[in-house]
């Protein structure tokens, strides 16, 4: 395999990893701050993709779908926190697992009722539709590069908010020691609600940006959910930086696994997870027992 196609695979892996990071960072934040394990997280990735299909089919604008999808997902997140999730704080993980499983059944059936069972495709914005020619036979789609750039920008924004702003300070304090932060007067009822909604919105955002390259289909949430769990386990629960490392590791493993070990590619990421578990049971950047 020559250098150019190797670079293309690497780029694919990085792009996949960056999308995974968007989903997993939401998951890890929600667990770190709220202490709630949300199996329905992947369903919002699917929701984002379906909203993109739906809005862009009606309005013809991908950008409107981007803005509208994120806003709708955020609003749904606020609503769900108010109705269900806040009743789970302090309950055991089993209750959280089962409630979010019930939520998956509800969301998936609503998807079935609203959008049907068909596979849909979404057009990328016109000016991102071309490809860059690399060699005689190889070219790279501009849209995939745009995803990389966009996800990097979002990741940078997440790190900026968490490391440099007052809101980020509250979030870090909450992840570090919830009881102490609450005793200092931080209104966690409010923080919880917005963190949950932001996590949901990040998952939806990932679904939105991949809609033009992955097509929109029932069950697209499942693999993303499992992989984002693997990423969170790899990186350490509650650690956004860990999620970034884990996501890139999984993205690149998956991409190269498909090329070099096609027969076992579907389990290559789990073998990586098993190896990391042997090495560090609490994840690469995880410190505390959960």
């Amino acid at each position: 395999m020559d250098l150019v196609s190797l670079a293309v695979q690497l780029l694919n892996g990085v792009q996949y990893g960056l999308v995974l990071f968007l989903v997993a960072s939401g998951l890890t934040l929600v667990f770190g701050i709220l202490g709630v394990i949300n199996l329905a997280h992947g369903a919002f990735y699917m929701l984002g993709a379906y909203l993109t299909y739906w809005i862009s089919a009606y309005t013809g604008s991908f950008w409107l779908a981007l803005a509208g999808g994120v806003a709708i997902a955020f609003a749904i997140g606020l609503l769900l926190e108010e109705i269900f999730v806040k009743r789970l704080y302090g309950r055991d993980h089993l209750a959280q697992v089962l409630l979010s499983f019930g939520l998956i059944l509800v969301l998936d059936e609503m998807r079935h009722i609203l959008f049907g069972k068909d596979v849909h495709s979404v057009a990328a914005p016109a000016f991102l539709q071309g490809s860059i020619r690399l060699t005689e036979v190889l070219s790279y789609p501009v849209y995939r590069l745009a995803i990389c750039a966009f996800c990097l920008a979002v990741a940078a924004a997440i790190f900026f908010v968490i490391q440099k702003t007052r809101i980020g300070m509250i979030i870090r304090a909450g992840a570090e020691n919830r009881d102490m932060a609450r005793a200092l007067g931080i209104p966690f009822d409010l923080v919880n609600r917005y963190v949950f909604a932001a996590g949901i919105a990040l998952a939806a955002l990932a679904g939105i940006v991949v809609a033009p390259i992955s097509t929109v289909f029932p069950g697209m949430d499942n693999q993303m959910l499992i992989l984002s769990f693997v990423v969170v386990v790899l990186g350490g629960i509650g650690s956004v930086a860990g999620a970034a490392i884990g996501a890139l590791l999984i993205g690149i493993t998956d991409s190269f696994g498909k090329v070099f070990f096609p027969s076992v590619s579907s389990i290559s990421v789990y073998l990586v997870m098993a190896a990391v578990l042997l090495w560090r049971p609490n994840g690469i950047l995880g410190q505390r027992e959960v």
Partner: protein, 337 residues
């Protein structure tokens, strides 16, 4: 059960007699439904050994269940019945081996990590059967003949008959109950419960926590394999969905519904949930929507399983009050540990 009142024992005996007589009482369709309930109930009881008694929320038991089903599909010859004596131990051994490997890795983690890791390893087995050509890939494959039980050329049981198959599954379920009850009451079972209630204290008392939990996990996985073996024979069909985590989560719902601190509670939970599914499926095309809502309501209102309803209705609050403080106290200590 030593202290069980005489009425309780009579009720159990009557229930058992009714279960044995069932094929004479109802049409074949309900016999098959009862078989499915027993199979899922066995799976739920197996899962409950680690979830209810061990305090470990596993989301990969469907993988052991499905793996055993696949072993039957692959080990049995295609155009004749496989031998029960050969395929059943093989299927259970495969499930136990998978449980040993997954458990050995997963049990290095705690709490929510354990949930996520078991989920991921379970899905790994799902994708192994889904993405490769093994046994029909994502389409699955048929098990054309139910296994047969032969002794010296004599056919002992004709499993193709729904009633006979039902009795065999009933016997397997009863054996499962006996095994689980013996485990729970044994010193091993007490050590497993001690590790759940207060891991640090159990460890400082010298219990080998990791080994105890791994043993329970393997036993539970093997029993899940028994259930999966009979499920594949019953449906005559195996597909990757059998290993998917949605099955694991559904079985968890059965466990919680039936009550986690009893051996047979999950069997009751299986009967309730599958009965509910049967009714909903007949009533509406979008039965999963209703089922999801009902699951959410159950989780939010009945933290003690369905028995809580009876306790609310018949006022056994005093019994609860006597039991609760004893259970709550160590739990609080565990929270500080």
């Amino acid at each position: 059960m030593r202290g069980a009142p005489i009425t309780g024992r009579l009720a159990a005996a009557a229930l058992l007699a009714a279960a044995i007589a069932l094929p004479f009482l109802v049409p074949a369709y309900y016999v098959q439904f009862a078989t499915k309930v027993l199979i899922m109930g066995l799976l739920a009881m197996a899962l409950n050994l680690v979830v209810g008694f061990g305090g470990l929320v596993s989301l990969c038991h469907a993988a052991f269940f499905g793996l055993a089903g696949y072993v039957l599909a692959l080990a049995a010859p295609q155009y004749e019945a496989g031998s029960l004596w050969l395929t059943l131990p093989l299927a259970v051994a495969a499930a136990a081996l998978a449980a040993l490997a997954i458990g050995a890795l997963s049990l290095r983690t705690r709490g929510v990590y354990f949930i996520m890791v078991t989920l991921a390893f379970g899905e790994m087995l799902f994708f192994l059967f889904h993405d490769t050509k093994i046994a029909g890939g994502s389409d699955g494959t048929f098990v054309y003949f139910k296994p047969e039980a032969m002794i010296g050329g004599l056919r002992l049981l004709d499993l193709e008959k729904p009633a006979t198959f039902y009795w065999v599954v009933l016997a397997a379920t009863l054996a499962g109950i006996a095994l689980l009850a013996a485990i729970v009451r044994s010193p091993f079972g007490h050590a497993l419960a001690a590790a759940r209630v207060n891991e640090r204290r159990a460890r400082s008392l010298g219990f080998p926590i990791y080994r105890i939990r791994l043993t329970a996990f393997v036993v539970s996985g093997a029993l899940a394999g028994v259930a999966g073996y009979f499920a594949a024979a019953q449906y005559g069909y195996v597909a990757p969905q059998m290993l998917g985590w949605h099955v694991s989560a559904t079985v968890l719902v059965m466990v919680v519904l039936g009550g986690m601190r009893t051996v047979t509670g999950p069997l009751v939970g299986a009967a309730l949930l599958m009965g509910l599914e049967e009714v909903l499926r007949a009533a509406t095309e979008h039965w999963k929507l209703v089922e999801g809502i009902i699951i959410m309501i159950i989780v939010l209102t009945l933290s003690n399983g369905i028995r809580q309803l009876f306790e609310m209705a018949f006022g056994t609050a005093t019994r609860l009050a006597r039991r609760r403080p004893a259970e709550a106290l160590p739990a609080r200590e565990a929270g500080h540990a």
